[in-house]
Symmetry: C2
Subunit: 290 residues, 2 copies
């Protein structure tokens, strides 16, 4: 199964950004990708860099956005993973991945369950935590365990997708550095981000596909010095072997072939799912054990 | 906090093996270690390499074994993590970690919860899965989240220890290669073993201390060609930074200093525990979601 990871930057406007995305999807198709994964909130700049009520208007077009990406999936005949700003009702918004089949049909959606909130990533202001749970979505290229960005730090999310029968884990992402941080801190953050997801791959014997944005985006409020999104999109197979790891700058449709039979072989020799102590996991539903 | 990881081989008899262990604990103490971690089932060869009822007699000495290691902890004035073959009743055995305080008192025990069973590692024949749950043990050097070997593949175990207030995760281990496997497979297995535990460190912002045995041990039944225990004992801090990673051969008391304040700093900037979706984790108590 051939997948394309579309790593790109914000091009100054939503229109120009989408134009670039379409060029890269075209590349992906020419390289025979069947599955195309876009980064988190790929239509626009990462607006959560500050808390501004004006940004809610970006979600007003959700219906036409869905129709637009449905048409793109159909015209390129690819399974397409998008992440859009969902307006669900007046004053109720989600960070939502919509998944389209090759014929353009919307086969499922995932609303980001774990919502971050730290300086420059004010997502709790914008997004209500998802209410659809952790359910993989069946497509013609496999059952997709789509999660979004902050979800990637939570082993529970990956495991629930695996238990739901996911064939792979997919993380559209927007994460980056502050230029004011020193190189050692930046490297540690980047490496821990890669490593925790590699852990999910191994613990669940599932491929992990993570697509992050690149480029510098400034904070219009000047509270922080902006975010330099660190790219480094990657794919690990279910044994934790690196199939792709790219740089922190390139805008490209990165192509990876995934062996869909490997999870079977991995789980036969190291059958973790056989041995889970479900009789003793109930406290995972507690905030803390005290 | 200074910890010593005692990585060693089986020396042909329990007596000679323990003699070597004591030499290494002496080294650890001379290097001012406060916490000493021994590998899994360190008193003997890894007898689970085949299924032999004769091996149950190795557990007959459990009471005197506990007394022996208690005296060692006391005489060296270290917190000591041992793993012994526990005979609990006639025909009822566990793979159990006993933790001793610097004064020799037994402060807690952990019975291995996840029991493996694959060729050369026939643990389901010997050990009843633990019934003490995942409870960290308070000591003078911190609250120890002691888990054993196969547990290291299960993110649930690490998380439950973190939720129970563990200051660190500790994995006494016995894992190795078959010489008949090719180098690529060996490397993949080793790297995935390290990587999944590094993932637990990061996901929980806790140091991970893993001590594995070294040396070749043959299968007396000649069903397999024996196990070459791969060593590679390691320590990661809670940010996933490697503090120690050793080779596959050395017998040594490896010394590492752990910054006990780092978890606090890590959890302040990336507060994963704040954002867990405990309202949606109940299915983790299912074997599979179907």
């Amino acid at each position: 199964m051939r997948v394309a990871l579309i790593q790109q930057s914000y091009h100054g406007s939503s229109e120009l950004t989408i134009k670039k995305t379409l060029e890269l999807i075209k590349d992906a198709k020419q390289n025979k990708a069947e599955l195309v994964v876009l980064q988190e909130l790929h239509q626009d700049r990462y607006f959560c860099i500050n808390e501004d009520v004006k940004n809610f208007k970006l979600a007003n077009t959700i219906e036409s956005d869905i129709e637009f990406w449905s048409n793109i999936a159909k015209s390129f005949e690819v399974v397409l993973v998008t992440t859009l700003f969902e307006k669900r009702a007046v004053g109720l918004y989600h960070n939502t991945s919509y998944i389209f089949e090759k014929d353009g049909s919307l086969v499922g959606k995932y609303r980001k369950m774990h919502i971050p909130d730290d300086p420059g990533f004010y997502e709790k202001f914008y997004f209500t935590p998802g209410d659809l749970g952790f359910k993989p979505i069946q497509t013609s290229v496999g059952k997709l365990g789509v999660l979004i960005c902050w979800d990637q730090w939570f082993p529970e999310a990956a495991r629930l997708m695996a238990l739901g029968g996911a064939d792979m884990l997919i993380y559209p992402t927007a994460i980056g550095w502050f230029d004011s941080d020193d190189m050692k801190k930046k490297q540690r953050e980047l490496e821990s981000w890669v490593a925790v997801q590699r852990g999910h791959a191994i613990a669940n014997a599932l491929p992990v596909i993570t697509v992050n944005r690149v480029g510098y985006e400034k904070d219009n409020f000047s509270q922080i010095d902006g975010i330099r999104f660190w790219g480094n999109s990657f794919v690990f197979d279910g044994g934790g072997e690196e199939l792709l790891r790219v740089d922190e700058k390139s805008e490209e449709a990165f192509i990876v072939d995934i062996d869909m039979q490997k999870s079977q072989a991995l789980r036969e020799i190291w059958p973790f799912l056989r041995d889970r102590r479900v009789d003793n996991y109930h406290d995972l539903s507690k905030i803390y054990i005290d």
